[in-house]
């Protein structure tokens, strides 16, 4: 039995290597329990619990709908402004949530990193669990809103999961970079909220891309979230035709972010226990 067991070789690594999927998969129960811990801790001893998850996207959606839709009369492509905002907030909150929660995950769990071995990537991945739960609740609220506003269902709705997954992948890519750099430079914990705010303003979260003058849209489309948010709206509301260039930009950027993120993470993860 022992004859067949694996020999692990511990040595200074020089070559770049990709993640060891087999090992990560052996720790998948840990991902589950870490995610469960985050979720439980978020809502334990809060008396309203899940109500907060519902209110978080709902309240801003109502405010922006009144301000931008009713008062400023911004274009909404003929849709209820509230739905437009809510559809923007779902993928945006995935990005925002994963970057801000996974981004600090390594620093926040420094005691674990220095006391026990597990594939380090498990830490940022597991924080996505609580983001996922928030997303599920929001999607439920969205369904209620769609019934309320009597939005006709189209076949586009089948693409909703694709865009959600895309949002998570993009979020993970950025989190890998942010979380590992955070270990070395604590500045990132200050920079990230600020950067996320700027990114929010420059993305069609609470307004429609229609607001951007035609001649600047190519530039606007370079923002990888443009395609993500507009794509999600297209899938849910099924109105305006899909701008494929935007979607391709998004997919390419997400893949690129994920690749760069993985590389950065792999490069620096060996030093985590010594630095953190």
């Amino acid at each position: 039995m022992i004859e067949e067991s694996l020999i692990t070789r511990i040595e200074p690594k020089k070559k770049m290597s990709f993640f060891e999927w087999k090992e990560i998969s052996a720790y998948r129960d840990l991902v589950y329990y870490l995610a469960l811990r985050d979720i439980q801790l978020r809502y334990k001893q809060t008396s309203l619990g899940i109500i907060w998850v519902i209110l978080q996207p709902l309240v801003p959606a109502v405010i922006f709908a009144v301000l931008f839709g009713n008062f400023a009369k911004l274009p909404s492509n003929g849709q209820p402004y509230m739905l437009l905002v809510f559809c923007g907030l779902i993928p945006w909150n995935i990005l925002n949530g994963s970057i801000s929660r996974a981004g600090i995950s390594l620093v926040a769990n420094a005691n674990l990193l220095s006391k026990v071995y597990f594939p380090r990537i498990i830490m940022p991945i597991s924080t996505l669990g609580s983001v996922f739960i928030d997303m599920l609740v929001s999607v439920g609220v969205l369904a209620v809103l769609m019934v309320f506003f009597q939005v006709p269902l189209t076949l586009n709705i089948l693409m909703v999961p694709v865009f959600l997954v895309l949002a998570f992948l993009m979020g993970l890519g950025v989190s890998l970079i942010v979380s590992s750099l955070n270990v070395y430079y604590r500045d990132f914990s200050l920079v990230v909220p600020f950067a996320l705010q700027i990114w929010n303003y420059t993305s069609p979260v609470v307004y429609s891309t229609e607001l951007i003058p035609e001649k600047w849209r190519w530039l606007y489309a370079l923002n990888p979230t443009t395609g993500l948010l507009e794509g999600f709206r297209w899938a849910v509301l099924g109105d305006a035709p899909l701008n494929t260039t935007m979607i391709i930009t998004t997919v390419v950027f997400s893949a690129l972010l994920l690749f760069i993120g993985s590389m950065v993470f792999r490069k620096v993860e060996r030093g985590f226990a010594d630095i953190v």
Partner: protein, 429 residues
Amino acid sequence: MNSDIAISAKGLGKSYLIKHHSDLRTTTLRESILGSTSRLLQGKRKVVETSETFWALQDVSFDIKQGQILGVIGSNGAGKSTLLKILSRITEPTKGFAEIRGKVGSLLEVGTGFHPELTGRENIYLNGTLLGMRKREIDGLFSEIVAFAEVERFLDTPVKRYSSGMYVRLAFAVAAHMSPEILIVDEVLAVGDAAFQKKSLGRMEKVAKSGRTVLFVSHNMASISALCDRCIILDHGRVTYEGPSGEAVLKYHGQSSKQSSHVVYQPDQNMADEYVRLVQASLEDEHDRPAVLFETRRPLKIRLTYEILTSDSVQCVPNCHFFAADGRQAFIAYQPDIKPLARGIYESICTVPENLTNDGVFSVGLAITTYREERMLSFVFDQGALTFNVVDPMIDEFRSYGYFGPIPGAVRPVLNWSFRKVESPSKPS
């Protein structure tokens, strides 16, 4: 790598860069950017920041056979933790390599990842998966873990409401039920109350006896001697000794105090007064062979030679002062019935019988006290003249019932017990 070797380390080294100007841990982006730009601007000018390479571990090589228990001894900062962290893959070596055959479970801390807000049940699963267990493994061990920790009634209470004893018991219980082929343990026995420590040590013993390979770090020499077959001593990041635990423990103690089985006093050494002078002393086993390592079930002898310098009808009484490893006096032995003696060289042999001292390291202070007509005149004393180590072979009366934990106290005498039946149960009428 031979198939009977579980862990093989070859030239392991770990260095840290110590920056004297800015602290590595709190580097900010600004410092990094400003640092590199100012270096660019200054061109060839020297950077004020100096750094120094510190080797926490250097050229460490050893092999552990399958099923062997290797102890690692060393003072604080000797590199013990660094070694364990490398073998547990928490940190990477700078030099050398190690090969490990089999699944490793490492226990550098009890209760890693325990969260006060989570319940006992939730913490068992979180901690268990962190230690590399799968959910179904924990499912299978769950009732055993809970019973070991004695927390059945509080499973669904957040652990922040636990007493510290319960907390530690639960934390240790999870760890103790891991079943890797190789177990790496750091000082975890130093938790909880005495009763629980015994229980944990018993558990470790069981793990060890089940044929698993264990790497065990501890400051507790008694548990090291009790559990480990072999030990390595680390000093300033290097292995200074490798060998049987009994001798390693002795050697480790010897690093701070002189130790030998034999001591010879020169006339100018001041181990004399106007009445008597110490000449030499030695430690011997029951067959009169010099020794420093004894078993609890064997006697040992202290042979003391001294010269009486006067015929002034004084009584020169040899006595031995035994000190335990923690520095506390264990007991004193006096030679009885000393008559006034003529000048000359004499030899006294003090036999410490089997089953008197507990296991552990003892130092012996040698003294000769001079009396005249029931008045103490003088006292020649060499504190810590000899050092010896008593090991527990784990087969005496104390162990016969199956208790393998540490036994407290400096002495461990086997006493006489009488025993009788007082009354038969009265027959039901």
